[in-house]
């Protein structure tokens, strides 16, 4: 046996853990398509029905929460990416890079409950509490570190010669930024939007503090249902949310493919 192959113990642990990771997802789907009135698990389910999924899809509450989630995720993803990119581009070559980097990562390091608690009084003072704008700003704070990290890793691979060449050919600094730098890191910008959107879409703790019943996102509605009743609509809503997670993931994978292809074509 080659020494670089894994042993039986490692393999057994790895595979059984992978199964345990999947089981809960399977359970949620099984509960969501269960035709009975109660949360019931049967394999195979003796009454498969899409009625719970349909009920969620038809419910104005869930629909508006989903729309709100998508809206907040898109807005805060774009905002977080713009700010994260500005920071990543600005601090390369800067001697303050280390300090600013730590600053940018703070919202990621500090527990979300602390962030939520800290911003709550300010949101009250600024009239942001319960507004969509307030949610977008709060989610941007949470998502910006991820946007920054994504762009930062790509900024490190930028060839400074290209920008110098453009400048020496007479391009002004704005022109260099717009025509050379940003196109070069475009794939990272896209990845950043996707990562930030995913963060916002899943965000629950800050949203619990600052969303109102009119502006609540999908996770907030799911949370309140989870605490009150365990009827199968919760499972059905979870399936919808997981589907959204997967949509974001696949958009991300497709974007990654596109970036690789583009890089190949540029060569």
């Amino acid at each position: 046996m080659a020494p670089e192959e894994s042993g039986a113990v490692a393999r057994a642990i790895a595979w059984s853990t992978a199964v345990l990771l999947v089981v809960p997802m399977v359970v949620v789907v099984a509960l969501a398509v269960n035709g009975s009135q109660y949360v019931q698990f049967q394999l195979p389910p003796d009454d498969v029905s899409l009625k719970w999924l349909r009920e969620v899809a038809d419910s104005p509450l869930w629909r508006s929460a989903l729309m709100q989630s998508v809206k907040v995720a898109l807005l805060s993803a774009v905002l977080a990416t713009a700010l994260g990119t500005a920071c990543a581009l600005g601090i390369r070559n800067s001697r303050y890079a280390g300090v600013v980097q730590t600053l940018m990562l703070l919202p990621l390091i500090v527990p979300l409950i602390v962030t939520a608690l800290a911003i709550y009084p300010l949101w009250v003072d600024l009239g942001l509490l319960g507004t969509t704008a307030g949610l977008v700003i709060g989610h941007t704070v949470v998502a910006m570190p991820f946007a920054f990290l994504t762009v930062w890793s790509s900024v490190g691979t930028l060839d400074p010669q290209l920008e110098k060449a453009a400048a020496s050919l007479g391009a002004g600094s704005w022109q260099v930024l717009r025509r050379v730098t940003l196109p070069l890191i475009a794939p990272a910008l896209l990845a950043s939007v996707i990562v930030a959107a995913a963060m916002s879409f899943d965000e629950i703790i800050v949203s619990l503090f600052i969303a109102s019943p009119q502006t609540q996102t999908m996770p907030v509605v799911l949370w309140s249902h989870l605490r009150e009743n365990l009827d199968p609509t919760v499972a059905a809503a979870s399936v919808f949310m997981a589907a959204m997670n997967l949509v974001i993931l696949f958009v991300g994978i497709a974007a990654g493919r596109w970036a690789v292809k583009r890089r190949g074509a540029a060569r």
Partner: protein, 292 residues
């Protein structure tokens, strides 16, 4: 401040003039200063000064409920970190061997888990572990009576949910260092007569020590801030620090005390983060663990 203009130490070789993108840096800094640093500082100030200097801290530390939550949080986080290390190392090890279809599936499972919202995972474990839930149904199918199993509402349930959440992070942090281990070293150890276990113990493990430390610190940092899992799986009797903070605000409107608890939690997290920075580049670790 990062605009880079102003004075440079004499002898600086490059011409110093802030480029427009350096000015742009002020935007995100201003944004964070207004919407994160200022409210955070305000919270710290309120926790220190309200009702007498450090009165809120004294109150927090005198609260046995809080102290028990701190101990519970630390113990469960430690257990979860160790569990994640063992399981995550096995998975990452398996994933960095020769690529086979089944390993691709496992990698897919890890990434999929990573992308599914924490709320959904908490709910699914609730549905599995609650009395009369999936676990007892399945146990009943094979003829085991699960009546006496009390998992939901215990720290065990919280730990299960937490490991489910944290494991992908650990795996993704451990994969790059494991991939960097030169197979020639393993073959050399093998040809010199070392058993597989000895090779692992004396070659692979020491070579991936940095990744292990980084993965454990990251997992622990994430663990001690947990709110969702304890709230849904642990029930009211087993709150974590984050839940006690939430309750102080939600139920008692005690902002200074909640602020004091938050500051204490943040200090611990920042100390751990400082350690993480010492052992590795945080932008690499966090970048890997970001949903990238």
């Amino acid at each position: 401040m990062a605009a880079g203009g102003g004075v440079r130490p004499s002898g600086a070789r490059r011409r110093v003039r802030a480029s427009p993108e350096q000015w742009l840096t002020l935007l995100p800094i201003a944004f964070l200063a207004l919407f994160f640093l200022y409210p955070f500082g305000d919270m710290v100030w309120a926790s220190v000064s309200r009702d007498g200097l450090f009165a809120a801290y004294a109150e927090a530390l005198d609260d046995p409920f809080f102290v028990r939550a701190v101990v519970r949080t630390l113990v469960v986080s430690l257990v979860c970190t160790v569990a994640c290390l063992v399981l995550g190392y096995a998975i990452a090890y398996e994933l960095t061997r020769r690529r086979t279809p089944i390993r691709t599936v496992i990698l897919g499972v890890v990434l999929l888990t990573f992308w599914i919202s924490i709320l959904i995972r908490a709910y699914s474990w609730l549905a599995i572990l609650q009395p009369g839930g999936v676990l007892s149904d399945v146990a009943g199918l094979v003829g085991i009576s699960a009546e006496s199993w009390r998992l939901q509402g215990t720290t065990t349930a919280v730990a299960i949910g937490m490991v489910h959440f944290l494991l992908p992070y650990m795996v993704l942090v451990l994969i790059p260092p494991l991939r960097a281990v030169d197979p020639a070293l393993l073959r050399a150890a093998h040809s010199l007569g070392a058993s597989r276990l000895r090779t692992f113990w004396r070659v692979t493990l020491p070579l991936t020590k940095g990744g292990i430390v980084a993965g454990c610190i990251l997992t622990f940092i994430l663990s001690i801030g947990f709110y969702v899992m304890p709230s849904i799986l642990g029930g009211p009797a087993n709150p974590f620090v984050a839940n006690v903070i939430g309750e102080q605000v939600g139920t008692f409107q005690a902002f200074p005390v909640a602020g004091a608890m938050s500051v204490l939690l943040t200090v611990v997290v920042l100390c751990l983060y400082a350690t993480l920075v010492r052992v590795s580049d945080p932008t690499k670790i966090l970048g890997d663990s970001g949903k990238a």
